[in-house]
Symmetry: C2
Subunit: 97 residues, 2 copies
C-alpha cells in the first residue's frame, strides 16, 4: 500500500477556508483506504493530510480525477505551500480495504 | 481526536531492525484509533509513524505503559533521531473508534 504525508500551509487567515475545501472532498474514492485531515496544533497555518492508497498507480489516477482537480483549483488561491513531506510504503496499521 | 506524525531515522543499516521493533508493538492499545507504520520510499533510513488517539491525555497515558516503554528501550540503540514532525487535531478521516 502507498502512503502520502502532506503539509499544506495556508495563506494568512485562510486555514479554515483550506479545511473547508478539504472537507468538501468526495469521500468514496476508489482505492483510497484512508484520507485523514488534521489541524496542526502548534502552527496556526498548517493542515496535515495523511493518505493511504491501494497502490501508487491508483493514487496517480485519482489525481487526474475531476474531483481532485476541482479541489486543487479551489485550494490554489488559499495556500502558501503544499508540501509532500513523505511518500511511503505502508507496513502496518492501515484500515482493511 | 489527537494526531501525531512521527519520523524515525534509523542508524545506518538499522531500518529493518527499527521496523521489527515497531511491528512487535502491542496492537490493541486502549484509545489508540490508528497506528500506521510506513517505510519512506525516498529516504532509506526513515520510518514514518502516524497515530490517531482518542485524546491527548489518552496518548500521554499510553506513553507511560510498559509496552511503550519497552518499545522505546528497544528502539534507542537503533535510531539516530526520533522526531515529532507534527501534533494535530484530527478533523476527518479517522477510523471510527
Amino acid at each position: 500500500m502507498h502512503g502520502v504525508v502532506g503539509k499544506i500551509v495556508a495563506r494568512p487567515g485562510q486555514r479554515e477556508a483550506v479545511i473547508k475545501v478539504l472537507e468538501d472532498r468526495p469521500r468514496e474514492v476508489p482505492g483510497c483506504l484512508s484520507y485523514v485531515v488534521a489541524r496542526d496544533v502548534d502552527d496556526g497555518s498548517a493542515v496535515w493530510v495523511t493518505e493511504i492508497w491501494k497502490s501508487p498507480a491508483v493514487h496517480a489516477t485519482s489525481l487526474r480525477s475531476p474531483g481532485a482537480r476541482e479541489m486543487v483549483d479551489r485550494l490554489r488561491p488559499l495556500v502558501a505551500t503544499v508540501e509532500r513531506v513523505a511518500t511511503t510504503h505502508i507496513l502496518s496499521g492501515a484500515p482493511e480495504g
